[in-house]
Symmetry: C2
Subunit: 217 residues, 2 copies
Amino acid sequence: MSNAVDIRTLDPVSEEPVSRQERKQRTRQALLDTALDLLADRPFATLSLREVAKGAGLVPTAFYRHFASMEELGVALVEEATRTLRGMMRSARTDPDTYQGMISASVATVHQFVRANEDHFRFLTRERYGGGPLARAIAVELRMFSGDLAIDLARFAPLRAWSTEDLHMLADLIVSVMITTTVELLEAKPGEDAKITGTAEKRLRLILLGIPRWKTS
Amino acid sequence: MSNAVDIRTLDPVSEEPVSRQERKQRTRQALLDTALDLLADRPFATLSLREVAKGAGLVPTAFYRHFASMEELGVALVEEATRTLRGMMRSARTDPDTYQGMISASVATVHQFVRANEDHFRFLTRERYGGGPLARAIAVELRMFSGDLAIDLARFAPLRAWSTEDLHMLADLIVSVMITTTVELLEAKPGEDAKITGTAEKRLRLILLGIPRWKTS
DNA sequence: GGTTACAGTGAACGACTGTACACTGAACAG
DNA sequence: CTGTTCAGTGTACAGTCGTTCACTGTAACC
């Protein structure tokens, strides 16, 4: 009566016997993946331990072999999505020579990363404002993101003389434009990407136009 | 054994006998109010019909006398919160003579309305990104908000020549700054208000500084 | 080769969920 | 005064929830 399946026969590619801890890590990842799937159209707080376990092909109690609670899985999800976010920031960090080059390159990077990791960005933007501990964890990460951006901005000649407070103000503003753009991309119907990225570039260009006239405090 | 209480004796102020439909409207409002209370630290989707009913002093089944489902209550909540939002927009619509005057007045209005209606703004910002039908309804409302702002902006001399597309781009940018400011206010610890509104004014000032140099398309 | 560690199973629990149904009593219309 | 309307009650049911506990089989260890 057992409908259990020998996992080793499932994937014809990996014939080598997988170690036990490797298998454990795989099911852990399966739990994270199905959770992310289920989160496509609902907030994290509505996920039940049971449906995540079922989605990963597990009996409910087996869940506890990997996470002590759903909240702990949520934290792991934040870490995973955050890794993607940091990857994006690393990709965006270039030393372009012109404003326009910097703008279009940054927007293109955001566009590319959002489209390649929709689940992660949807999760981050959803839960950022959802309240609870996840929102706080994501807020901390975004502040780091913004702080790093401020440091990068400080290297640009027109911003050399700016106070650190004003640099943070500018960085936050840019980040908020990027978040807005991300949400727009995630809610967009197919074919609207070009328009969204175009508007995003405009917004950044307008902001940067104000820089030369700014009197820092 | 009945612990029912004659409602008319509860409030010593309103002695006059209230009509039936008036009473119905009161309990309906009680349902909305307790829902808003419970939403202080969790997303709407986690609210149960039973706890909202209990919070309003009702037996679960009585809930259906007022709303066909929790989702319908959510829609009513969006309408209520949206009314506050429109009130804010109406208050902010002045014809100031200077940029700086317009900026500080607008930020002050946002500050005042957010502090006076924290529940409504928390609900709106939380559910805006929470997915589901509520998020869509709120998104529609915010687009209207942004559209109205674009029309207002069109009256300013420096923006007379701008294309409507660019005006919408600018309006969206300003709205996104206002939303960011609202979230910051709602997450602020006591005493941080001045700093937050100050930063908000800076962000708007920076944006407006770019306007004269903008070449509209 | 015998023993241990441990990922996953399956049954059971008490609490909570939305909803159906028959009801009560007071405000209302005639 | 009489009959109707209807906001609110109480009971009940079928699901789902998180969590417990004793268990099984196999990879890993000595």
